[in-house]
């Protein structure tokens, strides 16, 4: 598999905030009780009865200019194939510099003492599968693929639809996009 630029495209219009993505991730990645790598932001704006809502399934943005990788003193945080930001547990001292640097609060310290986060389920992607959160999602809110491939679903969605990213001002060039 060629190393492209993996991205996730989240269709906020479809998401019902059921959080199946969170549970599927926990099961797939065998996360300890009380820890998760993705989460839901449920925003409601306005005053009764003039309200609008947005649901966003969020996770590590696998930034192209990842501040966490720059911040990591040991090289544990690194950019792997497809631009996926990973942490190598053996190299991580748990210093939390990356957690401070992350604009998205996407990282956490595991009970074992290393920092962890979403991997875009790279272990599945390597086998030609989609990330666990994408495959479970009952509303097909989540799309995953290679942005460098202009024929990919994610690339086409970003051409066809209006989108935004979280904290564009961070300069990190995040790779999780929200369709609005």
């Amino acid at each position: 598999m060629s190393a492209g630029r993996y991205a996730m495209v989240v269709d906020t219009r479809l998401c019902v905030a059921c959080k199946a993505c969170v549970l599927a991730c926990k099961a797939e990645n065998n996360l300890a009780e009380g820890y998760c790598r993705d989460w839901l932001v449920e925003e409601v704006h306005g005053e009764f009865p003039k309200l609008r809502a947005e649901n966003r399934s969020e996770r590590c943005n696998h930034c192209s200019e990842a501040p966490c990788v720059d911040a990591c003193p040991t090289g544990a945080s690194h950019i792997a194939g497809g631009g996926v930001v990973l942490v190598t547990p053996d190299k991580c001292t748990g210093c939390k510099a990356c957690m401070a640097a992350c604009p998205y609060d996407a990282r956490y310290l595991t009970p074992e003492g290393f920092v962890d986060k979403c991997t875009f389920c790279l272990h599945r992607v390597q086998r030609g599968e989609q990330p666990a959160c994408v495959t479970v999602c009952p509303t097909r809110t989540l799309h995953f693929g290679d942005l460098d491939d202009p024929t990919s679903e994610v690339a086409r969605l970003l051409v066809d639809r209006k989108w935004k990213v979280n904290h564009p001002e961070s300069g990190a060039h995040p790779n999780v996009y929200f369709l609005v």
Binding site: V16, C18, L23, E28, I79, A97, P138
Partner: protein, 738 residues
Amino acid sequence: MDLNRRQFLLTSSAAAGAVGVGSGLTTRFWGLDGDPVHDPATDGDKVIPTFCEMCFWKCGVLAHVKDGTVTKLVGNPDHPLAKGRLCPRGTGGTGLLYDPDRLKKPLIRKGERGEQRFEEVSWEEALDRVAAKLKEVKEKHGAESLALFNHGYGASFFKTLVAAYGSPSVGAPSYAQCRGSRDVAFQLTYGAPVGSPEYLDIENSRVLTLIGSHLGENMHNTQVQEFAAMIEKGGELVVVDPRFSTAAGKARYWLPIKPGTDMALLLAWMHVIVKEGRYNKAFVEANTVGFEQLAAHLADKTPEWAWARTSIAPELIVETARFIAGAAPASLVHPGRHTSWNGDDTQRGRAIAILNALLGSWGAAGGFFLPSKLKVPPTALPPMPKPERKAPDTPRGAVFPFMDEGLAHGLRDASIPGTAEFDIKAWFVYGSNLIQSLPNPEKTIEAIQHLDFFVAVDVLPAEITGWADVVLPECTYLERWDDLAITPWKEPFVSVRQEVVPPMFDSKPGWWIAKELGKRLGLADYFPWESAETMVKARLEAGKYDVAAMLRTGVAGGKRAAVTTEEGATAVYGTPSGKIELFSQQMADAGLAPMPEYTPPEAPAADQFHLLFGRSPVHTFGRTTNNRFLSEIYAENEVWLNTRVAREQGFKTGDKVILVNQDGKKSAAIKVKVTQRIRPDCVYMVHGYGHTDKRLGFAAGRGADDTQLVSRVKIDAAMGGTGMNVNFVRLERAGEAA
């Protein structure tokens, strides 16, 4: 800060190199740097298809099993209800399987009922006790005095047992406390069932109207998938709900209606559609009876008339009526599911059914589809004995002319001596926590005091099992075979539930428990198979299915059938007229309004709120609130309170309150959630919390149970259902003197 961070990076970069040298080179390489990609290795060495029981929907599941442990549950792509995806509850089935609080051994009560003292016994002893007591009840009081209360698919074996024993007294709260009024309404109007799962072609709807359905919070997997597909394709939503539901957040129109007044809105919508000639004339002409009477009935149900009742502005009623009619026939007014609210619920269901008829959505793409069903021969059983007496599930002298299933609350009430034609003397409770699922829990506890015998079969302890004389621990759906599920659908199919892992502890499958009891009661002929596995295989073979393929994929069938009139399917209206009955002569003959009438709801006092309750997407009532995996997402309910009201009354999010209803019934303490998402005259809570049974080690004491506040009901005259949204509450700060 910048400087500090830069300094930190500088000092640490040397260390990175040092550690980098030592990093192990393993066999699996990926990426630019050669570090291995960690594989959590949760894929099973076996993947076993089955179907889910985390709710009643029955989605196809692929269970990954590794070294004898279920590592994860994913959707079966071959299953028409799952389409490869699961809802959060289905994903969290492992949290039930590995719940440390599960019932582990058969229990026999020691001491008085309610003292919660039990002794662990052998299956032999427990089954002998149950059989002896059931025989005794039959001899003393007649077989009909045994009541079966049930919920869930595993009940099939116990329904057989109780029928063979000779009792017709069977009830499930899913009827009179939930969907019954809706089912009866559609049966009366169309002479056809609305189905469960409902026969709704949501994915092709151009407009979907939700009136009292919070789809997306009730995670009926297939419906939610179709709901999203519809939005994706440009379909629009009209949502009628006193609360800004998740669905309301996606709607073109949200109508925050005054609770209990849906009927006025439905009638006014129909008024506009008929008056402006926007109904589907060809469909109405060809398929319905009573249009002239309906038109006359609607004449004075103007948007202005409805405005005063619903609080929805007349212009908005007109605009939404036109919007809904404009998409016909691919305009679906969702029938809802839990509809036992105000006592006129069958009439309200009729109004929804009639509105759909005006749109011509029955049998249309984007409306109600006409399901197709596969055939599998049933297991041949001896004829069932004919009970001498009818189930005593209605009060003495009461008749509910269109009641077509047993009333669970009626069987409870019949256990209080002298209430019904004869007394219920024994309970068999399967998978149903009656304390939380029947209104007026004090009455449930009173009824139990009068019983000669009470046996409960369940996976987890619950308030109800604490009152039983014998508790039989069933294994979970992942540890057992069950009967086949034969689902009428667009792609008709059969699913198999097979044992994924062997039963844990000393729990047993339902089929085994029923068969063993059958043996002891002289009813062995009604269980003419070795096991559910052999029974299922024999049925499949008799139906000429490829058994091996079925066990491998979990599903048979699944081919798209013709299910709309356009595709060549024929709608059959099993009504007396053979047509859709806008005017119901049946109802007129039974002394009920033949066309839906508006009944004004009672109003709360100035310091009271309407008490609304509903679902969280991660839970199925109280059945899952002890599931620690699911509870990582939602562990405790809160009471929603409008922001302005909260400000006026000085409540903040997180404040603990007690809800007190008009009869002085009190809830447990519950946290306030201050939100713009609800009308000022309502409060809302997720149902299924406030467990008091301490054996539910996680759920006990979390949140509050709305059932405690349902001391009043209004009975549906058509089918006997209990309207439960007639209770009003005020808020008291927890800790304040009562």
